[in-house]
């Protein structure tokens, strides 16, 4: 049987961090007392009408620009009808066949569309399973009702659980840098659903998909997709077929359960929203959305890789973290005569390790000034201090900040530059380790470590490791 290839598309709900709700003037909130941010409009009193939030439209246009989507010159809102207590009008105002944003792409994955809609209220079911069936009572908090959302739908271009999670992270970082959402999965301001199917590798037909919901972290997203792919592959291997359904992810044990039965399947009876006029963004709004875009992770990664010659991994690591990226760029600008890639390696390597040891704050928040790091890297490159001493100085900088040259002076860490002095120390170390010397002469290169170690101990790490190696080999070959 042919290998079964994973075909995954994501549907991402981004809660916008506008000041007020999508169709009324109530303030957005998180964690406030229930039902304090409500009004006749978001409680769907008789006779109320929605008025679109311009800020939300501007935010959606920024997201569309960041995802290189085609923006519709005219889009419309629809009513999506269904009864549930979290849906006060019994219809959600959403966009259906004429969304604000069409085809786009991010990180090699095609975007199908992005549209504006409103969030539902929050329901809390008391007693029983925590779901409405069998609960003693249900409570509804309308603070969230009407919060603006942008739903982003990808094409089914992702081919594995890890790839899907990595792409979702890229999307989060991209949206985060637009400053239009908190993009916090735990708090629900970023919600990622996955459409998962499998097909024989190489086929261009799509298999029957299932929709996975309630994965409120990237780890759960990956685990959920992995579990579902395994289930579908086993099912097909056993001669079964996949049924289209919505599955709910249970974080306690990583299991998936159908959300609702077919009998309750919805016919949303979409209807063009007669209370709203078509959404026609002005030239000014479109221009503002384009011009306000910061450099996004993907573009930054390409610039680091192609213009600054960073390795692909280091470029991606830095590009995904705008604050550290900015720190790196300041340090690289300060570092005279040092390649940016060397600075980048220090930022993502030695500095990141030292900060982890110290409690884990980011480079930008640390006591290590970008100029100080630049100076330190310069001293190592010019062999004024050894790499080992560089790490010692860095630890001091992390702990108390300051000027690396002063630390080198104070601690006496300047590299031994007098080759006569170093030669003497090397000779003494060889004499003190005759067995190692004998092994080296016999061709066992690994034995050199003992003699290098002795030299370093004697010099307190102030010797250049490369030079020490060279001297030892020279003397023993002689």
């Amino acid at each position: 049987m042919a290998e079964l290839e994973a075909v995954i598309g994501l549907e991402i709900h981004v809660q916008l961090s506008t000041r007020t709700k999508m169709f009324c003037g109530c303030e957005l909130s998180f964690g406030d007392e229930p039902n304090v941010h409500t009004c006749p409009v978001c409680l769907a009193h008789p006779g109320v009408l929605p008025v679109p939030n311009e800020e939300a439209i501007r935010y959606a246009l920024k997201i569309a620009a960041a995802l290189e989507c085609e923006v519709a010159p005219r889009s419309i809102f629809h009513r999506k009808n269904y009864f549930y207590p979290d849906n006060p009008k019994a219809y959600q105002i959403s966009q259906y066949d004429e969304p604000i944003a069409g085809a786009g792409r991010l990180g090699g994955i095609r975007i199908h569309r992005a549209h504006l809609e409103e969030d539902a209220a929050k329901t809390i079911h008391l007693g029983g399973s925590g779901r409405i069936h069998g609960s003693g009572a249900s409570l509804v908090d309308f603070n969230r009702a009407g919060t603006p959302l942008v739903e982003i739908v990808t094409e089914p271009d992702l081919r594995g659980a890890a790839e899907a999670a990595a792409w979702a992270r890229l999307l989060r970082e991209t949206v985060r840098q637009l400053d239009v959402s908190d993009v916090n999965m735990e708090e629900g301001s970023l919600r990622v659903d996955a459409n998962v199917s499998v097909r024989p590798a190489g086929s261009d037909r799509l298999g029957t998909k299932t929709e996975l919901k309630n994965m409120n972290s990237f780890r759960f997203l990956e685990r959920g997709i992995e579990a579902e792919l395994a289930r579908q592959r086993e099912l097909i291997a056993a001669g079964g077929t996949v049924t289209q359904e919505t599955l709910h992810f249970h974080p306690e044990d990583g299991s998936l359960h159908p959300l609702r039965s077919k009998e309750e399947a919805h016919d949303y009876r979409y209807l063009p929203e007669p209370d709203l006029v078509p959404l026609v963004p002005s030239e000014e709004m479109l221009r503002e959305a384009r011009e306000s875009l910061p450099e996004l992770p993907e573009a930054r990664m390409r610039r680091y890789r192609d213009e600054l010659n960073l390795s692909e991994d280091t470029a991606a690591l830095l590009a995904a973290d705008p604050e550290t990226a900015a720190y790196f760029e300041r340090a690289a600008a300060e570092a005279e005569g040092v390649e940016p890639r060397v600075v980048a390696n220090w930022v993502t390597g030695e500095l990141a390790a030292a900060l982890r040891q110290d409690g884990g704050q980011g480079a930008a928040d640390s006591k290590v000034e970008p100029a100080a790091l630049a100076a330190l890297v310069g001293m190592v490159q010019e062999k004024k201090i050894s790499h080992g001493s560089g790490k010692t100085v860095l630890a001091k900088l992390v702990a108390e900040g300051g000027d690396p040259e002063a630390i080198v002076q104070r601690e006496g860490l300047a590299q031994i530059s007098d080759s006569g002095e170093l030669e003497g120390i090397v000779a003494a170390a060889i004499d003190a380790n005759p067995e190692a010397a004998e092994q080296i002469r016999a061709g066992n290169g690994k034995a050199i470590g003992a003699i290098v170690g002795a030299v370093m101990k004697e010099t307190k790490g102030r010797a250049d490791g490369g030079e020490v190696n060279r001297l030892i080999k020279e003397k023993l070959a002689g």
């Binding site: 006749p40 409680l43 769907a44 009193h45 008789p46 006779g47 109320v48 009408l49 929605p50 008025v51 679109p52 009513r79 009808n81 009864f83 207590p85 006060p88 009008k89 019994a90 219809y91 409405i132 069936h133 249900s138 509804v140 016919d267 009876r269 979409y270 209807l271 007669p274 209370d275 709203l276 006029v277």
Partner: protein, 501 residues
């Protein structure tokens, strides 16, 4: 003295109040007393003497009491839309139209009875009992703004506002012998007006004469930031003054020369066309080829929108909630089964079906195409005519119960008014004369409908005013053409009604 006050037009009363010849309090009290004598089951709520109702407001409608259809939300005052499902509901806010009347100095006289959620043409669909026609209490006042038409026609209010979705202002105005204006869609804010069919619903005045309609429209119209579809009338609205119709071209659609028109109605319509010519107007027959499909398209679009608009009445947040329900679905079902009347249920089911997956294009999609064609027909007609004229209703007021078992016959009441609603254009019904009902009996009012292009309200009011002066219908009042006599202080009879508020 009181009777003289009640016979003043709104325009005359505003002049006398502004001149200091009449006290707003005296005028308001006279009307509250008149309203208290409601024997038509026309009011669902009435304001009380004194209290906040008597503020010394200034403005073009200072001191004028207005009756408001119970479809408009009024903060703290029960608003039911004629439905059991909203029994006891007190809105936390006031509709823009009502607020604007208040800002113009008007006072809320009472809330008027109506067909449930504005669905009906006879006011027999009210959960609070039918309204009686002031001309013949065994007959309907029309609907759905039957209460608003009856209070003005019956001398229980100087003026009123209602809503018109497919004829709900014009038809009851015609059947009660008063003026009813449906403005252009978007002229007046819909905020706070309980939605029936959002793309058709429009607020408008019901008054004794055209000048009063203009006065109310001037106060009501305007863009409202709370209603994205409102635009207002550019240049506002002035009192009409035109006395002839010379140079104006009136189009009579041949398709509307319908067999179902009662002979008496047809006769009054022909007389009115003759008057138009006497006043210098030109009459042409034109074609509105798609208008005969108006009723079919309307009874798809309006129920479809209604099915979504009425879904919020679920018992969760306000209004009626069925007790003793076992689970959520049962609570929804019982609440709605008990709360809605038959006609509302019928339209919710029609609309739900029309929007169902697989049927959408065949019903809603096609109905919208018909709607576009009807609007195109009117545009073509207005390219070389100023107005389109028709009878407002094919019949005079019919008997209570006469059409309740035949929804299709009831829907045909809207035959002449629905096309204008679908096209979104303004139309006015003015009383044009009296005609004997089929089967005999005292003569009853006949309405004449004039429609104009979108936002040409001023032109429409001018023509209606000129025609009104020539018709002199004002001499006729309920009671076999006898002089106007509001039924004050008579014994309450018949119809089931609520306790007065």
């Amino acid at each position: 003295m009181t009777r003289e006050l009640l016979e003043l037009s709104v325009a005359a009363a505003t002049h006398r109040i502004a001149a200091g010849d009449l006290s707003a309090e005296e005028y308001g009290t006279a009307w509250r007393q008149a309203a208290a004598g409601d024997e038509l089951n026309a009011y669902l709520w009435r304001g009380e003497d004194g209290a906040a109702n008597d503020g010394a407001a200034a403005g073009p409608l200072a001191g004028i009491p207005v009756a408001v259809k119970d479809i408009f939300c009024t903060e703290g005052i029960e608003t039911t839309a004629g439905s059991r499902i909203l029994e006891g509901y007190r809105p936390p806010y006031t509709a823009t139209a009502v607020r604007r009347l208040g800002e113009a100095g008007a006072r809320l006289l009472g809330k008027t009875n109506m067909d449930e959620f504005a669905m009906g043409s006879s006011n027999e669909n009210s959960a609070y009992g039918p309204v009686r026609n002031p001309w013949d209490r065994e007959r309907v006042p029309g609907g759905s703004s039957g209460g608003s038409a009856a209070v003005v026609g019956g001398g229980l209010a100087p003026c009123a506002i209602g809503t018109d979705t497919g004829g709900s202002i014009r038809q009851p105005a015609a059947l009660c012998g008063i003026v009813g204006l449906k403005p252009t869609y978007g002229a007046i804010s819909r905020y706070g007006m309980i939605a029936f069919a959002s793309s058709l619903d429009q607020c408008g005045p019901l008054t004794r004469d055209v000048t009063d309609a203009a006065l109310l429209l001037a106060a009501l119209q305007g863009r409202d930031p709370c209603d994205s579809t409102s635009v207002g009338i550019e240049g506002g609205v002035e009192p009409p003054s035109r006395e002839d119709l010379s140079g104006l071209r009136f189009a009579v659609p041949s398709e509307l020369a319908h067999d179902a028109i009662e002979p008496g109605v047809r006769a009054v319509f022909e007389q009115t066309l003759a008057r138009i010519e006497e006043l210098g107007g030109e009459i042409d027959e034109i074609s509105l080829p798609h208008s005969e499909h108006g009723i079919s398209a309307y009874y798809v679009i309006a129920p479809a929108e209604a099915s979504a608009n009425l879904a919020r009445y679920d018992g969760v947040r306000y209004g009626r909630r069925a007790g003793g329900a076992g689970d959520l679905i049962e609570m929804y079902e019982t609440t709605r089964a008990e709360g809605f009347g038959d006609e509302v249920k019928r339209r919710i089911m029609l609309g739900t079906y029309a929007l169902s997956s697989g049927y959408y294009e065949a019903y809603y999609g096609r109905a919208q195409k018909v709607r576009t064609k009807i609007a195109d027909d009117f545009r073509a007609a207005f390219s070389n005519h100023d107005f389109v004229v028709t009878p407002t209703s094919p019949s005079v007021a019919f008997r209570l119960g006469e059409k309740t078992d035949d929804p299709l016959a009831m829907y045909m009441n809207d035959f002449f008014t629905v096309p204008m609603s679908l096209a979104g254009i303004p139309a006015i019904s003015i009383p044009a004369g009296l005609a004997e009902p089929q089967g005999g009996g005292p003569a009853l009012p006949v309405g004449f409908q004039i429609a104009a292009p979108a936002f040409a309200e001023q032109r429409l009011l001018e023509a209606a005013y000129a025609l009104e002066q020539a018709i002199e219908f004002g001499a006729h009042r309920p009671g076999s053409g006898a002089p106007f006599a509001p039924p004050v202080g008579k014994k309450r009879t018949g119809a089931e009604g609520r306790a007065d508020g």
